[in-house]
Subunit: 470 residues, 2 copies
């Protein structure tokens, strides 16, 4: 089974078994249509180019297309090639509700705001199979109350984080959360309980995180960000004793926290008896070399490590984790108990099952390849067609920073994009007060489904080009 | 398909199709063993009595037992009847982890503390099928962020609550929560934001609820409870402008809030511009007559209605709901966004699918029948063997109040039970300071799995009897 990608027109993952190319290609296409990765009306690559991409005979592709057209999955129209049928046949289950009909090509609003992965690529079949296994094997006691999450799930996540991110994790120092936001909230509540009144926050970041911190009574203290991540020296000598950092890939500037700063941050926390909250939100998505490991490994008693499956799977799977200094475990467990009494046990166990079976790694790898490919196209298109714009922050993650040509403002580009049916966020959306000094937009290239990415990219290029020309 | 129950020795639901009795009995037994309702080593009823219970030929039962023994599900031993095999064959999936081996009969600690349903009866097959349907049909956009929960799920729950509890529900005034605790927390945060400083709380209830309220800064104000529920007149003339009530079945006293008090509570909230928080935690489990509808229907703009699937399904399914006065919707949505950004979308949609398909109603009905039967056995056994104890609060819900014979203390009974491997909670565990004046234990008869209920009941009777005799 070789994982191949169709390289022509449409971004599409197809797992084709080269020993049975036609049968496996048909199956892969049916699945892609059924689970929404290939939306109604999207155009399939010509058989010639798909054959070249997959390394199989062109005739085999043509036969597979014909078969699927006969089954109602595809339609071939004179002059417009082969497309996914307008109303694809329903999944075999007759009780299923009809899928919402996907909107069509150009009329549809597209979205390149950052923070959301490609939801259409959610691995439905793998998830369903893993959950079925969980239901067939889990002991019933596990369905009761446990604010930390079931031990086997904590253990699976701990092993994963140790292996992939170098985290020094231990199930007894972990609490499974409903995602990063809840992890931040629980950590902040415990810090307040321990007398903290302020918290360092990178000058660029998600507004909701600042709002979560403020809701617990902490006053955010902005830390500048440059090409080496947060300027942690700004914390020295302040009265701040806790700080939230995005070391793997600063959001949204895109820099990686440098080695000297990592050391300095941990030293600072140790000296003042404080804590770092490490938001490892896309540590799994590093493209150019080995990922930089988690800061947590430098000092597990001074770093609160937080992550989630929101990027690797989907935000709707509300499974995240905290790996805690031992001094904070009891407080966080109590806070979690008062917050919601625990998370979705079946989701937690299903994630654990995917991790243990290797499915989670396969999913991450597949998505990393897909996002890397989108990133390369983004760089290429912008380089060719909007040369005045400078793109950065692209070594990792699901977004890029697009610094605008001289004389262009964020508002102009965001408005020009909106006029083309494309939602964009300017960098200012993520800036703390007084730090909004560089005109740029943050391009969340992960967000559109594959079939819409080309269109979204064309609209982005057009919007930047129009403004730069005017 | 007639739902029948095996009445002999073992409490067991078996759905047997009388047109195909042997095949359907075999299937029902396999399922019960596979999903843990029938634990390893538990003894099956003699074929004679099961035949009488199910209304089918004794020979059919014997044949089914023989067949399942041949398949490795059961073992028949000389002198000890037919039992579930020690290591039942695994589910067909070879990748599944072996199920934790169930502990054996008498050596095992049992638990009659209230608040948890029979986890072994979680409807695994129905859940799995519903989630598969969700994954086959849901649009991908639904896997993103929505703090309220997906609209189709809110709509399904709204329809259910309107039909079953008379709630005046509307998806636009609802937020799906991670269970009752989170609903209470979110409501409390919004009340604090609106200037509330105190909250009325029934003098008996779960300590965690008082703790949740206190963590938001609200000061609990105890309201006495009697045979007609909370004495809501105590709120009149106080500075309290919000109160949490359990009208359907006071926890743990077990009384139902009377009609006059319902009216008075709503009038009070309306007059002071305040709110009731209605904890409808077991409104679905009423045994003796039609359930009493929700107070919320009397004044949807003054009542915050809160519930969850924790009792009907399992606490590990963290799906609950708030139906809100329109004035509070925006505040609660913001609070939810800051709490965790939303709940498990797949769990929410799976619950919705069960509701829409009728599976949820079937599950509730099945469990109601099962719990009612346990309640009847509890009353019968205690009446026969511990006549000095008085049982009350049994018209609904999953627990009973067992007032102890004169001269007996809670601590004595709890200790005597512990000596027999049975965990019990005294009423004092649930009392606000100054309200712990009646010696009683709260019997959560829902908690043990079916195969352990008889043993748990015997231990309870023995513990009460020993203390009363001494």
């Amino acid at each position: 089974m070789a994982e191949r990608r169709a390289n022509s027109g449409l971004d599409l993952h197809l797992d084709v078994d080269l020993r049975h190319p036609r049968r496996s290609l048909e199956r892969a296409l049916r699945e892609a249509i059924r689970d929404g990765r290939l939306a109604a009306e999207s155009r399939l690559p010509p058989s010639r180019s798909l054959a070249a991409d997959l390394g199989i005979a062109r005739n085999t592709i043509a036969e597979a297309y014909t078969q699927l057209a006969a089954e109602g999955w595809l339609s071939a129209r004179q002059g417009s090639g082969t497309r996914v049928a307008d109303r694809p046949v329903q999944s075999p289950n007759p009780a299923g509700r009809p899928r919402e009909r996907a909107s069509r090509g150009r009329a549809r609003r597209l979205d390149l705001r950052p923070g959301v992965p490609d939801l259409a690529a959610f691995p439905r079949a793998e998830w369903s199979s893993a959950q079925r296994q969980v239901l067939a094997t889990a002991s019933y006691e596990i369905l009761g109350y446990d604010p930390r999450g079931p031990e086997p799930a904590r253990r699976a996540v701990a092993d994963y984080l140790a292996r992939v991110r170098g985290v020094r994790a231990d199930p007894d120092r972990m609490v499974l959360t409903a995602g990063f936001t809840q992890g931040l909230r629980l950590a902040a509540e415990v810090l307040v309980h321990r007398g903290h009144r302020t918290v360092g926050v990178e000058a660029y970041g998600h507004a909701i995180h600042r709002s979560v911190l403020e809701s617990t009574g902490l006053r955010p203290h902005a830390i500048a960000v440059d090409g080496h991540g947060a300027v942690v020296d700004e914390l020295l000598g302040s009265d701040v004793r806790a700080a939230v950092l995005t070391p793997a890939h600063q959001f949204p500037i895109g820099s990686v926290l440098g080695a000297a700063r990592r050391q300095a941050a941990v030293r600072w926390a140790d000296t003042c008896g404080g804590y770092l909250i490490e938001d490892d939100y896309d540590g799994e998505f590093r493209y150019d070399r080995q990922p930089v490991g988690a800061v947590q490994a430098l000092d597990p008693e001074r770093v609160i490590y937080a992550g989630s499956v929101s990027k690797a799977l989907a935000p709707g799977i509300r499974v995240g984790w905290l790996v805690l200094p031992s001094s904070l475990v009891a407080g966080v467990v109590e806070a979690k108990e008062r917050a919601d009494g625990g998370g979705s046990v079946l989701d937690q166990l299903t994630v654990a099952r995917l991790i243990v079976d290797g499915g989670y790694d396969r999913i991450v790898r597949r998505r990393r390849l897909g996002y890397r490919r989108r990133r390369d196209r983004l760089v290429q298109e912008l380089g060719a067609r909007a040369p005045g714009a400078r793109i950065s922050g692209i070594a990792a993650g699901l977004h890029a920073l697009l610094e605008l040509p001289r004389g262009t403002t964020e508002a102009q580009v965001v408005a020009a994009a909106a006029g083309r049916g494309l939602r964009l966020d300017g960098l200012g959306t993520f800036a703390a007060a007084g730090h909004d000094d560089r005109p740029a937009v943050v391009v969340g290239y992960s967000r559109p489904p594959d079939h819409a990415f080309t269109t979204a990219l064309a609209r982005l290029v057009a919007a930047v080009g129009t403004v730069a020309d005017s």
